[in-house]
Amino acid sequence: MSPAEEAVRRENIKSAWQLSAPALLVLTVAAVGPLLIVLVYSFLTPGTHGNVEWVFSLEGWRGVLFDHDIFEDKLVLADGNLTIFWRSVKLSFITTVLTFIVGFPTAWFIATRSPASRAGWLFLITIPFWTNLLIRTFAINQIIRNEGVLNTLLLKAGLVSAPLQLTYTDTALLIGMVYVYLPLMVLPLFATIDRFDMRLLEAGYDLYASRWQVLRRVILPIIRPGIVAGSILVFVPCLGAYVTPRILGGGKNMMIGNFIELQFGQGKNWPLGAALSVTLLVIVTIALLVYVKAISGERKNG
């Protein structure tokens, strides 16, 4: 690079920084600030009526993994907490897979419509966002309850002899979460499929690939950025989901989000809640790193 080019490059970088400064500032204050507060709170002592007392303590962190056995005065592994973590990760993972299975054909369908009707379909996808999440989740509950639309139809059609018990089960929770997060999978998938060169399909068939091989060897690798984006957009908020598990899981089948809320509410143990929040953040970060690494590794191997 010549000195002149180098100077131009420096100047470009400088102005890029200057232009993004306001956004960076907002991000720093709005994201890093609260995060720091949470981190600090996790090392304090719970106050008697909630809140925290400014006394350093590791109790919050200990509570993430261990319970205090009051009878034998020793620490035992908190199976309950671990179960909740595991459930959350498992349900979020299943939700991500299900949204992909439903979302991929949907996104493909929209992306292959004529440009005129495409806008209409995308519009339909965004309609659920118009209504409050709480109301939508209650609506799902109405649909799947024993006397709800779904069971009435199934009974009328003679497909089942007794109503399916769906409310307050993991199935109900999954139905709700897939419904809520589906648009977040469809939109990034649509964006990548829209850019996908459909002529590559013919090239694939021409080179003896079956339909399945075209999907597996041509389409999926090329739209991978959309799959990654969609999966992250679904998996991360799923892990921290609060409203859906609360209403459809009936408070009995908790996910991390509900558990954390419990600590800030009835549990009156803010440091534990803060420590759980940080743990959730770490889990998400690790999951993302593993995911992205696996994806790029697979790409390298072709």
Partner: protein, 354 residues
């Protein structure tokens, strides 16, 4: 090349759309393509060349008619089960794969063992002189290089027929000429039947063993380049390939009488009104009063270095173009308004159907 037929289209019709809005992209096309030949489909835009190619590849099904490959009916066989490969006009290289992986794709899909895939891929890359690029992503290649990858990829599975849809149209003139030579070499070396689509008549004439000239979904004429150039069957073929003068006249005795009175000595197969076609290079300019010559006036001229093109007009206004080799110092050049006589090279005048 043999006389054995590889691809055979029988009364193929392809209509797009329904009812009144239907477009007949192919209208009763019957064609035999011989094993190992370089066959070119030539015609203006929209005449149905791509459609015919897509029917052979299996991307479309004919509305009527059948397509045979080595005598077997493949009309309804899907593209992945036809031993036919395509070089797409847009190349359609897989952007997520390297050059070598692109070339290996077809072989892998055919389930060939890994060592064979590797060996064939290397051989193909050598054939198109891209060994050094094997590990690159296709987006890091120039247009000409991408073209070669597309060729290698389509040739690797050793198809019975290679279909090429205007593969050179995206290249600049110099590269285009290079690739023309290259394609011809590849075809000779591999012995694979090439079906090549172009709307460039010069490309068709220089590269092909045989040419099929198309217009409006119909095959107008099939033949060797020389046949098509010297013996076009109709006005469309004559005007589409090279420059041609058309003269209408009436068959009379041993020739055709033009409206200006002169008789062109030609063996006309039909009585009544006919059209004569004469290439500019077969129009000779002679002295005005020469016996049998048609009187004409020079209306313009264009200097082409080796050649001189004259625009002339007959007494009734019919325009004629003549191409003569220009003299060393430009001596004998005719000027505008000069009176001359015209003669046609014996045997070079064609009597057309319409």
């Amino acid at each position: 090349m043999t006389d054995e037929v590889t691809i055979s289209a029988r009364n193929v019709v392809k209509a797009f759309g329904q009812g009144n809005a239907a477009v007949r992209a192919l209208d009763d096309v019957s064609l035999d393509i011989r094993k190992g030949e370089f066959f070119t489909l030539l015609g203006p835009s929209g005449c149905g060349k791509t459609t015919l190619l897509r029917l052979i590849a299996g991307f479309e099904m004919p509305t009527e008619g059948t397509i045979l490959l080595d005598g077997a009916d493949i009309t309804t066989l899907p593209p992945n089960r036809r031993p036919v490969n395509t070089v797409f006009q847009s190349y359609a290289l897989f952007p997520h794969l390297t050059v070598a992986q692109n070339v290996a794709f077809g072989l892998q899909m055919l389930g060939r063992p890994a060592p064979e895939v590797k060996a064939t891929t290397e051989r193909m890359l050598a054939l198109v002189k891209l060994e050094a690029m094997a590990g690159r992503k296709t987006s890091q290649l120039s247009g000409g290089q991408q073209q070669r990858v597309a060729l290698a990829r389509a040739l690797a599975p050793q198809p019975k027929v290679l279909l090429l849809d205007e593969p050179l149209s995206a290249l600049d003139l110099k590269l285009r000429k290079e690739m023309q030579v290259e394609l011809k070499r590849l075809q000779t070396e591999t012995g694979i039947t090439f079906v090549f689509v172009t709307h460039d008549q010069e490309e068709a004439l220089t590269m092909s063993d045989r040419i099929g000239v198309m217009s409006h979904g119909k095959l107008q004429q099939v033949g060797a380049p020389r046949d098509i150039y010297t013996r076009p069957v109709n006005r469309f073929v004559a005007s589409f390939i090279g420059e041609t003068n058309f003269l209408s006249g009436v068959t009379e005795g041993a020739g055709v009488r033009l409206p200006v009175g002169a008789v062109v000595p030609v063996d006309s197969p039909r009585a009544g009104t006919v059209t004569l076609a004469v290439r500019p290079e077969h129009v000779r300019i002679v002295a005005p009063g020469e016996a049998g010559a048609i009187p004409a006036t020079v209306t313009g001229s264009v200097y082409f270095g080796t050649d001189m093109n004259y625009q002339l007009a007959l007494a009734d206004g019919t325009e004629i173009e003549a191409c003569v080799v220009s003299g060393v110092t430009g001596e004998g050049a005719l000027s505008k308004g000069e009176q001359v006589g015209l003669r046609f090279t014996p045997g070079a005048v064609q009597v057309l159907e319409d």
